[in-house]
Symmetry: C2
Subunit: 355 residues, 2 copies
DNA sequence: GCTCGCACTGAAAACGTTTACTGATATTAG
DNA sequence: CTAATATCAGTAAACGTTTTCAGTGCGAGC
């Protein structure tokens, strides 16, 4: 039953494992394991020998074997909507940075707004045995949910709490940022303000729209439903929505968008229609992706800090992992705020009078 | 020594494993394994029972255990420079799509142009035991290289062959696209053309610069070294490089850039300097990211198809995995070509005369 | 009717770690 | 000087699969 020290001197180069290191350092594999994991009880002299041996052999522990026995994969899953929307790479980058800092690696999956893909993503997380998952897209299927709960895998929803909330939820306070946007526009004397939403099955998109509507109301401005159109958070959908709006008999003088990509699409439509921004038309985005500073002209937008989001998400996950059975909700709100750049100005309509 | 059918009825919800499924289906775990993996020799009746049991229990196989014994992780690594540069998400998305199609999942890592991070990335790939790696950034450290080779892990270099080439290399033919760009500019009567490179330790960036230089020469245009500055493939570096160039006593009338993000940075600098594009200045990017169509005005750029890149990379990897000991190099070239949009036009200098 | 082969299932080894436990040695207290 | 204890190394079990191998039962051929 005893395993031979090494299966056999096969001709294939033979991957290096813990037993090779043990042999070279002249200790048992248990000691190698402890030394590698920096368990303090191991004799410094032996530890040194082990490290040296490991270095000489270019040894890397097999995380699969490690995960299998320890029950911890040291992997954090991150499910996002769409990786080609620049907001997400920014989030991912920060998420990874923080995760690595805390000793975790990340596994990325994107749903592309597709229900089927969402299932696959969740399944993948389960199969790869992530220690925790952050979700920033629409809700997870119910049955998968149960499975996450059964396996005691913490899930944090960034800005997209599902029907039946379980682990923690990172709520974003759209109200203040979007309200600032509306106020800013109102202060510039805009009365005709439109909005391009994101895909409304996204909870976050619906919430942004709601925030817009309520801000409008509190500014005493009447919402015109023909100026509110559903987009998909993409360049195309922003442009298309805007050409539709520009074709209307009565046009708005300003638009707000559910995200920056949409706004850039709108900017493009405006450019094609030979409308100048902000002289002829005002525009406000949402997210404040890095690119927003570089559009022409630079985009006025509502900032939602992805650094905050990432940091809080990882922290919540790690907290759950370390202290089992935390309260389900941190309850904190991620703030948003308006960043004024150059796509907003007073409408010409003021000069031109009503008609 | 015999493992009890189930460790003990513990109070924690107990993750579901293959033994649970076996018990419920009334078969052995071997049969479950075979049924799940659709081995044809298993009795259809039993297979059906197993599938039903698995579904009822929401069973997912543990990929770690599976990988450990089978020696195949079904993971493909992808190491890129920087995830926040939109070119890479586009590549990643396509890479993932194709990989999933072929039965693989992907593990993403980004180096952020940092040598240390590069090492970490490679280490991570080794630790997680990917079956193959695609690399699109600068060269891998030598010692890691050896390790990949030792473990017989195929590596494909996208557009960034290292000093000591090993597995396959996907070469990009910069020549034709960049040459088309220069010709286009020359045809518009530009004689003063600058270039903003990427970080030159990136082989691909160096190659693009070389292609530019040789295209210039074959167009009979003298290169002015003060108009060639090293950037970092980022918005900032593009803008900064351009303001530097605009401060020169003698300015070029057109610029080409090593990637689109740089070009967008340049566009911004031009905007701030109140120079109109293309009336006052012409501009050509590289990559043809999706966004390029949406800049204002839309960016003329050299297209390098990330779909091609992704497809070829995955194919090469999978081929290596299936047919051991393939020739080291597919030898194919990824083509590039100019996409003319609206950032290029005739220079005013022609009208204004020499001075 | 017996043997042979075929088709299929189940038992158990193996994958590369971690970790509980055992045991050896050194150290200290009495 | 002996006994108790602390310190740390090693042995072996365990993690959840896949896969080899042995075995069972059945049909067919003689």
């Amino acid at each position: 039953m005893k395993r031979s020290p090494k299966p056999v001197k096969s001709e294939t180069p033979a991957k290096i494992d813990i037993r090779d290191v043990a042999a070279r350092a002249g200790v048992s594999i248990a000691t190698v394991s402890r030394a590698i994991n920096r368990v303090p009880t191991v004799d410094p002299v032996l530890a040194e020998r082990v490290w040296a041996a490991a270095a000489e052999l270019n040894y890397f522990p097999n995380t699969q074997a490690r995960a299998l026995v320890s029950g911890k994969s040291k992997l954090l899953g991150l499910i996002v909507s769409e990786i080609t929307n620049p907001f997400f790479p920014e989030l991912i980058q920060e998420f990874e940075r923080v995760a690595v800092e805390r000793g975790y690696e990340i596994l990325i999956a994107s749903t592309n707004y597709d229900r089927k893909r969402m299932e696959q993503c969740a399944r993948r997380m389960l199969e790869r045995k992530v220690d925790g998952v952050a979700v920033m897209t629409f809700g997870i299927e119910d049955f998968l949910f149960e499975r996450f709960a059964e396996d005691q895998i913490p899930v944090v929803f960034i800005d997209a709490a599902p029907e039946r909330p379980m682990s923690s939820v990172l709520a974003v306070d759209y109200r203040v940022g979007i309200n600032e946007g509306v106020q800013h526009l109102a202060g510039l004397a805009h009365r005709k303000i439109g909005f391009i939403t994101g895909p409304l099955r996204l909870r976050s998109a619906a919430a942004r729209k709601a925030a817009f509507l309520s801000s409008l109301k509190s500014a005493g401005i009447k919402a015109d439903p023909t100026w509110i159109v559903e987009g998909e958070h993409t360049l195309e959908s922003g442009r298309d929505a805007m050409v539709k709006i520009l074709a209307l008999r009565e046009r708005p003088t300003a638009m707000m968008c559910s995200n920056d990509m949409t706004a850039i699409g709108v900017q493009h439509a405006l450019f094609e229609a030979k409308l100048r921004v902000p002289e002829d038309f005002s525009l406000i985005g949402f997210d404040d992706i890095h690119l927003a500073e570089y559009t022409i002209p630079p985009l006025t937008t509502v900032r939602m800090s992805c650094k905050d989001l990432a940091l809080k998400a990882v922290s919540a996950l790690v907290a759950h992992l370390q202290l089992k059975n935390l309260p389900a909700d941190a309850g904190e709100m991620i703030p948003t705020r308006l960043i004024v750049r150059q796509t907003t100005g007073a409408p010409k309509a003021g000069k031109k009078a009503k008609r």
